[in-house]
Structures are given as structure tokens and as C-alpha cells.
């Protein structure tokens, strides 16, 4: 069973984020890391391939930076190889353009299953996996909280508003996994060393025949301005001296909740 996991390298969420004042693109010049949301898909893929007893995991990523440390992290977890589409012209690519690039890269692998996070932690558009599925002509199941493969069928427990649905789909298919679906492993020292020599195929949008459909020029929308939101002022703050609960009760009474 061959599985592709789409991963994204994002600015470290712990560092303060900012938008470029002219292009309004997210500043990605700092160090990039593997989006934590993607580690669940990588782990899930590794477990499914393990269970199948044959096949491998390929990570596919798109970005505008030559920094590959996030992708190497996924390889260190156990993925066999990577395809990275990266060139400067990809800066400002929108969700649909991203999906076109990822779909073209995924086609080169022809996998049985494509796993993605439900959304990235920096752009959180949340449509890319389904756009990829549509471009590839595949079924998709989003918001999986459990994934099992039985022969040529994938079975998914899909999150709903009031609980979950059991969904089945023939393979190949695209599945998005929620965080917490599995416990992602930490890369071992051996894994980190092995990742350094694993194959990483580096491509450009032009290599995939997608020049002109990517970047800000290929995007179907643009940011026109960024303004400060209406600020919410801080109110009272008290240090608990054993009377914290009393104070909260008094506050709840003052707003007539009690």
C-alpha cells in the first residue's frame, strides 16, 4: 500500500507572525517547521503501511522556500521519500493553485491513499485536500477521527456536529485527519540520520506544467487591506487569595448569570 501525505512547512507558530505590508503575504522568511497538524497524517500513514505489510509513505510538499527541515522531519519519522515543489514563483499561490501543484506531484506517485491534515496551522483555508481530490477525480472523506483500510476500501469515522458517521470509500481516495487521531512518534536519532540520505525530488511549478497558474498572478483573489480589529479591553484582574471563587460568583451575579 502506497500512501502520499501532503505536508506543509510553516513559520514556527511560537514566533510572532506578521504580514508583509505590501504583498500582504504571511512572512515566511524565518525558520520553517513541519506543521504539527501534518504529523498526525504522517503517523497514520506509517501505521497503515505497517499494517498492510508492504508499500511506502511519500511526503509531498509545496512552498516558496528552499528550507527542507520540515520535510526532513517527516522523513525522520519514517516516510521513505519526498517530492517538494518549491520555487520563488509559488509565493502568493492561492488554495486552488496549491491544490493544482499538489495534485500534479501526487500523480507522479499514483498512490492508493492520500492523507492530509484538515487544514494548515498558518493559512487554515481548509479546502486544499478536497480541491486535490476533485482535480484527481477521487472521492474524499474529511475530518477523520479514525481510519482503517480493508482491502481496497477505506473506512473512516468522520466527525459530525453531534457525533460521527461511519463512512466507506473505495481506494484510491483522499482522507483528511483531525489532530489527536493517532499519537505522532518522535523521530529517533537513527531516523534523523537516515532522513539525511532519503531521496527528495525537488521540482518547480514549470516542471509540472503549471507555470502561470500559481503565484499571486494565478490566484483568484487578493488581499486589499489589513486593518486593526476592534480591540477588546482587559477588565479587572485579581490574584487568588483563597477568595477567587467568591469573586467569580460575585461577578456572575453582577452580570445576572447567577
Amino acid at each position: 500500500m502506497n500512501i502520499v501525505v501532503c505536508v506543509k512547512q510553516i513559520p514556527d507558530p511560537a514566533a510572532p507572525a506578521s504580514l508583509d505590508p505590501t504583498t500582504h503575504n504571511l512572512d515566511r522568511t524565518g525558520k520553517l517547521i513541519l506543521d504539527e497538524a501534518d504529523t498526525y497524517g504522517v503517523e497514520m500513514a506509517l501505521q497503515l503501511v505497517d499494517k498492510a505489510g508492504a508499500g511506502e509513505v511519500t511526503v509531498v510538499s509545496m512552498g516558496s522556500s528552499a528550507d527542507l527541515s520540515g520535510v526532513r522531519n517527516a522523513l525522520a519519522m519514517g516516510a521513505a521519500k519526498a517530492i517538494v515543489v518549491s520555487d520563488d514563483s509559488l509565493r502568493g499561490t492561492d488554495a486552488l493553485g496549491t491544490a493544482k501543484v499538489l495534485a500534479a506531484a501526487i500523480k507522479r506517485v499514483n498512490p492508493d491513499l492520500v492523507l492530509c491534515a484538515t487544514e494548515s496551522s498558518d493559512g487554515y483555508t481548509g479546502t486544499v485536500p478536497v480541491q486535490v481530490a476533485e482535480i484527481l477525480g477521487l472521492p474524499s472523506v474529511t475530518f477523520a477521527k479514525s481510519v482503517t483500510v480493508d482491502g481496497s476500501t477505506v473506512k473512516v469515522d468522520r466527525q459530525t456536529d453531534g457525533g460521527y458517521d461511519e463512512v466507506t470509500s473505495p481506494l484510491p481516495a483522499v482522507v483528511t485527519v483531525t489532530a489527536g487521531v493517532v499519537e505522532p512518534r518522535y523521530a529517533s536519532f537513527k531516523g534523523i540520520m537516515a532522513a539525511k540520505s532519503k531521496p527528495v525530488e525537488e521540482l518547480t511549478a514549470a516542471d509540472l506544467g503549471l507555470a502561470g497558474e500559481t503565484g499571486a498572478a494565478g490566484a483568484g483573489q487578493e488581499i486589499t487591506s489589513v486593518v486593526a480589529a476592534e480591540a477588546r479591553a482587559a477588565g479587572e484582574k485579581h490574584t487568588d487569595e483563597g477568595d477567587g471563587a467568591d469573586k467569580i460568583v460575585a461577578f456572575l451575579e453582577s452580570i445576572k448569570v447567577l
Binding site: 486552488l96 487554515y124 481548509g126 479546502t127 470509500s169 483568484g220 489589513v226 480589529a229 467569580i248 461577578f251
Partner: protein, 317 residues
């Protein structure tokens, strides 16, 4: 803006609240509002769609257990081919809404804007970023109808007292393999008390609780206040509570009378989902936690001491 389409989601024989919010807002854009639904219950939903401003309700029919993303996007594509494209298609942010938007965007080769909290007649969208401290304004540049995916509670739902919408059946066309994901069983998790999105009081827990078992305190406090229990992404990711409890960018948007954040530091991802609460109470041992910057009432203290004490006070009332 002359022609506005709104995707409205059926749930238990009625339209979801977010669908009604979108219909209400669509009326203010100065054009004809048409609604698009599925499930073959068009006649039953037409009164509600019409009451909130739709003149026509297009129904993609019974989907035969298929997930709605592919067939509903197919039906909308077909409707555009026969009736012409609208100026904009508004879709609720929901599990199925995002699927429909993604499929439709790829089918029409047109842009999609998500996490939208404001939309005006000139086509400008508003998106909160960086924990809602800044608002990004955007617009479509490509031809074809813009697809706008709008977050719950961005607008208030108000009836316009309109007559029932006329029902029109639409067909999905040939979808090939894309339509082959099927629901084989549905499970409803038992819920005590009000729904998280509708509760007047929400008590939420975060990493500061220390361990999964401490979440019982959150549930007890919520129950005593006739409220709902919520969670930060951190403890959902850790597997302490199900995703359905998550409040934030990725999870639910809540606007209760009072939101009580316990052991939640206030990551930007969380703030977007609860910043609109009428009152915010925070309990956190870190006096510099970002949550205090937006809390109306903050207690700097150990949640393991303050919360049990609060539960005792509430019990004795």
C-alpha cells in the same frame, strides 16, 4: 449585486442556524436570493428558506448516503450551466460546507475565500487573523462567481416574514468516482445540557488542567451553570476530549453571555472562537497569559484550587 446563491444545510428536517444567518445577510446585498440544499426535503424546508429571504430553493435531492461535497457541487455546476452564474455563492463553514466549497472551486476553476466573517455588496470579504487582532480584507480577481465560506455567528439570523420559496429540483450529473464515499452508519454522541454553540454559559478547559481527568471539573462547573463545556485545541490534540468540544479557529465559534476559560493561556487560534462572548472570565496561574488581555474578569490562581471552590459555591446555592 443582483444574483446571490446561498448553500443552506438541512439538519433534522430544518435548516441549520448558520444557513439562516447567511440567508439573512444575503438579503442585505441588494439582489435576488436563491437557496441551494439537498436531501429531497425541499417542500418541507421551502417555508423556512422563504421566511429568511430566498425566492427559490434548489434541491439536489436524496444523495443516497453519499457525502454531500461532490454531488452538491455537481448540482451547483449543473445549475450554473443551465441558469447562468450568480455574482457570489455563500456557503456556511461546516464539515460539509467546506467540502462543497472545495469541490466547487476546482470544478469552476475559481477562487474560494474561507473563514469569512464579513461580506459587503461591493464583494469585499473580511477575515480575522492573528487571533482576531487584525482583519484582512480581500476580494476576488478571477472571473466566475466567487465562493465565500462564512463562519457561524458572523451575522444574526432574522426572519423577513417572506412567503415560502418555490422548489426546483437540480441534478448532480455524472460524478464518476468522486461520489463514491458513502455514509453507512451515523452515531450521535450523548450530550447533557445545551449545545456548545447555543449555550448562554460556556466553561472551557485548556492545558493548564494538567491531566485529562481534571476535565471532569469543567463538565461539573458547566452543568451547575446550565452551560456547555468546551476545550482549547491543545487538549483536543492531546486526545483528552473529542474534537466536537473544540472552540477556536479550527473548531466552533461561541458567543455566550459568559465564557469561563480555565487553564487556557489564550493562543490566537483559541481567541478567534470566543472573542465575541459578551463577558469573559479567565482563571490562569500565569498573570501574563494573553487571555487576561481580553478577559473582563480575571483570577490569577491555580485552576485546581479555584475551580473546585467555585463548584462548591455553586452547589450550595
Amino acid at each position: 449585486m443582483s444574483n446571490i446563491w446561498v448553500v443552506v444545510e438541512p439538519a433534522n428536517g430544518a435548516l441549520t442556524t448558520t444557513s439562516l444567518e447567511l440567508l439573512t445577510h444575503a438579503r442585505t446585498l441588494g439582489g435576488t436570493v436563491s437557496a441551494i440544499t439537498w436531501g429531497g426535503q425541499g417542500a418541507a424546508l421551502a417555508a423556512q428558506a422563504g421566511e429568511y429571504g430566498a425566492t427559490t430553493l434548489h434541491d439536489a435531492g436524496d444523495l443516497g448516503g453519499a457525502l454531500p461535497g461532490a454531488p452538491v457541487a455537481g448540482a451547483i455546476t449543473g445549475l450554473i450551466a443551465s441558469a447562468g452564474a450568480p455574482d457570489v455563492i455563500l456557503i456556511p463553514t461546516s464539515y460539509d460546507g467546506r467540502d462543497i466549497a472545495g469541490r466547487l472551486s476546482a470544478k469552476l476553476n475559481t477562487g474560494v475565500l474561507t473563514n469569512v466573517t464579513g461580506y459587503s455588496a461591493d464583494g469585499a470579504t473580511e477575515h480575522p487573523v492573528f487571533g482576531g487582532t487584525q482583519i484582512v480584507k480581500a476580494r476576488f480577481t478571477s472571473g466566475g462567481p466567487g465562493i465565500v465560506v462564512i463562519r457561524a455567528k458572523s451575522f444574526a439570523a432574522e426572519s423577513a416574514g417572506g412567503a415560502p420559496a418555490s422548489v426546483n429540483s437540480i441534478a448532480s450529473g455524472d460524478l464518476g468516482a468522486t461520489n463514491s464515499a458513502k455514509i453507512v452508519a451515523s452515531h450521535v454522541e450523548e450530550r447533557v445540557g445545551p449545545k456548545l454553540e447555543e449555550a448562554a454559559v460556556v466553561v472551557s478547559g485548556g492545558r493548564g488542567l494538567g491531566e485529562a481527568s481534571a476535565y471532569a471539573l469543567i463538565e461539573e462547573a458547566a452543568k451547575l451553570l446550565n452551560g456547555a463545556s468546551g476545550a482549547s485545541r491543545a487538549i483536543v490534540d492531546a486526545g483528552w476530549v473529542p474534537y466536537s468540544k473544540q472552540v477556536g479557529q479550527t473548531g466552533k465559534t461561541v458567543k455566550p453571555t459568559v465564557y469561563i476559560a480555565c487553564g487556557i493561556s489564550g493562543a490566537t487560534q483559541h481567541m478567534v472562537g470566543m472573542k465575541g462572548s459578551k463577558n469573559i472570565v479567565a482563571i490562569n496561574k500565569d498573570a501574563d497569559a494573553p487571555i487576561f488581555q481580553i478577559a473582563d474578569f480575571g483570577i490569577v490562581g491555580d485552576v485546581h484550587k479555584v475551580l473546585p471552590a467555585l463548584i462548591e459555591k455553586l452547589k450550595s446555592r
